[in-house]
């Protein structure tokens, strides 16, 4: 029994430093055997749930149990009822905050495909990619990559949860996208692997989870959003809407990020990840918007609201995240929880 699910290779993370009562409570749950526990602890309310460093890290780590092994934690913690109960409490907070953030607007008549196009056209998120393309310093570019490592080192995985929950055309469309995300049969072209290459080329540590202690809640929230959507069948509409907007808003910013790296003198080994996404996501966006999201809404009209919720929630959280980066940088501060020690950070 003990050998099952305890392979020595694969993803491992080390629990980051305790950030507050939520991470502390989680670590206590992860440490002691289930039988010794009665219930998830009652914890103080959090004011800004969507940007709280402690709460978002606790939620991120609850989800990490599904993606990776955690050093010193029994792999069975992934399905430990008490841990799941704790996660559910966090998710309730997260959901409530998102509902407050995302306006519940009725969709317009021409269907989900058209509505998604409109959301993208009307999006007035901060011009982060332009800034990176034309102005950012080397340390700012490195910070940007560290932020994104929270997702890109497991790129596409949160959306893959939805494959088993879809049928017919939408399922085929999602698999078509994910197959490309995972390298089209070539392990070295898996997008997460391309991101590792970028990190390495920039002198950053590409190890999965290496920068957890640097990631602020506002960044973790953007990834928690997809894990939350992806792990709940009831939210399959939302993860589909999330993916559609993600792909539809990807090609142009990625070209700019690549240009930013070229401006700073980096070569193809650093820009490959971004250049790949310019072309790949130009393919994916049409499939995701029409064959996946639009077709899912046509097949299951009751999911329309969720699809649009997923789309709007992504835009809202990404905008807040980008705003955070630009605000910190304009004040000459680090946008991470602590400055990137470039010497120590480099592999």
């Amino acid at each position: 029994m003990s050998a099952v699910g305890t392979a020595s290779s694969g993803r491992h993370i080390v629990l980051p430093t305790v950030r507050g009562p939520w991470t502390q409570a989680l670590y206590a749950l992860l440490e002691c055997p289930s039988a010794d526990r009665l219930a998830a602890p009652q914890l103080p309310a959090v004011e800004n749930v969507l940007a709280d460093d402690d709460l978002q890290m606790a939620l991120y780590l609850c989800y990490e149990l599904h993606y990776a092994s955690v050093n010193g934690v029994d792999d069975r913690a992934e399905w430990d009822p008490v841990v799941l109960m704790f996660r559910a409490a966090l998710e309730r907070e997260f959901e409530r905050a998102l509902m407050d953030l995302v306006p519940d607007r009725q969709s317009e008549a021409d269907g989900v495909g058209g509505e998604l196009q409109r959301l993208v056209q009307d999006d007035d998120g901060p011009p982060l990619s332009r800034y990176v393309e034309t102005q950012s310093s080397l340390s700012q570019v490195l910070e940007h990559v560290v932020h994104r490592s929270a997702y890109q080192l497991k790129e596409a995985d949160p959306h893959s949860w939805a494959i088993a929950r879809l049928t017919g055309g939408p399922k085929a469309a999602l698999v078509e996208i994910q197959a490309d995300e995972y390298g089209g049969g070539r392990a070295e072209r898996i997008h997460a692997v391309l991101f590792e290459n970028t990190m390495r080329a920039l002198g950053l540590n590409p190890t999965y989870g290496a920068y957890l202690d640097w990631l602020p809640g506002i960044t973790l929230a953007t990834v928690n959003l997809m894990s939350w959507f992806g792990l709940h069948r009831r939210l399959r509409g939302a993860i589909v809407g999330h993916l559609a907007i993600f792909e539809m808003t990807s090609s142009i910013p990625n070209r700019r990020y690549g240009n930013g790296l070229r401006r700073l003198g980096f070569g193809p080994e650093a820009t490959d990840f971004y250049d790949e996404h310019v072309e790949a996501d130009a393919v994916h966006e049409s499939i995701a918007a029409w064959d996946l999201a639009h077709a899912l809404a046509a097949a299951e009209p009751e999911l329309t609201k969720d699809i649009l919720f997923g789309a709007k929630a992504l835009l809202a959280l990404e905008a807040r995240w980008a705003e955070h980066l630009l605000r910190c940088w304009s004040n000459d501060r680090t946008s991470l929880t602590r400055p990137l020690d470039l010497v120590a950070a480099r592999a």
Binding site: D122, G168, A173, S251, R255, V278, A282, V283, S286, I287
Partner: protein, 288 residues
């Protein structure tokens, strides 16, 4: 009242006065008559077997799907060569080929269609732009003839820009029913083709963007009027549409400049760009 009549529907706007939802102002509407051939097609209609494009293919078939406002997606065993016969390597399947013409990695798509607001339906376009433009005022209706049996664009009197009943720039921000506007959208795409890059590199705040969207129908209508008049008459300087075209463009200009009014440098930059656009529009589109 300015109205555009197409084979299958009618756009109309009343610029002078009309109570619409309790307030006077212009109103664009689209009335379908007969088959709705030029409504925006639903790409899901194009799905083979109704359950997704990919699943509708047999193994060796090549399938090309133009996506609404987006690229051509090509699935199946296909070889792409340049005109000298050299193979153009396809790094993925499916492959997206540029349809807007503005990609920087042609022949492949790089998402630029979104920046240039490329607009095209997924299903085949049916309009051949054989419009007849007839300009008249009041009851001086232009004669109709055999030419009008074809798809027809007609325009009656357009209020001059100093008309007191024209309330404000925002009132003129006619919201055009998108489902009926494909001809105008195509006309606009041609404007965008020329102006897209220019606008893209300019100031790009959300307000301006929204204003641009509001201005689009006005620019599109102006372009259509001018272009079709020229193609019908062969007249390079069609005086009889100058006034309405100018009126429409000025309306668009006011909207856009109005959106940027609290920043003087941005406003003047935008204003310069749009004056240039106006000059371009007044020269008219090239004849095919």
């Amino acid at each position: 009242m300015l109205s555009f009549k197409f084979a299958v529907g009618t756009f109309s706007t009343q610029i002078a006065s009309r109570t619409h939802g309790g307030r006077a102002g212009p109103c664009w509407e689209f009335k379908a008559t007969g088959r709705q051939k030029n409504s925006i097609p639903d790409p899901s209609d194009c799905l083979l077997t109704g359950s997704g494009i990919a699943t509708g293919m047999s193994g060796e078939e090549v399938l090309i799907v133009p996506y609404q406002d987006g690229p051509y997606l090509v699935r199946g065993p296909v070889v792409v060569r340049d005109q000298a016969g050299g193979e153009i390597k396809l790094s993925r399947h499916p492959v997206a080929l540029c349809r807007c013409g503005k990609s920087r990695i042609r022949p492949f798509c790089d998402g630029t269609h979104r920046l240039v607001h490329f607009a095209a339906p997924s299903s085949p376009e049916t309009h051949r732009f054989e419009f007849k433009v007839v300009i008249g005022r009041g009851d001086r209706r232009a004669p109709t003839g055999a030419a009008l049996a074809r798809p027809c664009l007609s325009s009656e009197a357009v209020a001059p820009s100093d008309d007191p009943s024209v309330q404000s720039a925002s009132d003129r921000a006619a919201t055009l029913d998108e489902a009926g506007s494909s001809a105008v959208r195509r006309a606009l795409a041609r404007v965008r083709d020329r102006l897209g890059t220019q606008l893209e590199t300019g100031p790009h705040l959300a307000r301006e963007h929204n204003a641009m969207r509001s201005a689009e129908p006005l620019i599109g209508a102006a372009w259509l009027l001018l272009g079709e008049r020229r193609s019908v008459t062969g007249d390079n300087d069609p005086q009889d549409v100058k006034a309405p075209v100018s009126h429409l463009i000025r309306g668009a200009l006011e909207l856009l400049v109005g959106a940027a009014s609290d920043d003087e440098s941005r406003m003047s930059a935008l204003s310069r760009q749009l004056e240039a656009a106006l000059a371009l529009l007044e020269r008219g589109p090239a004849l095919p």
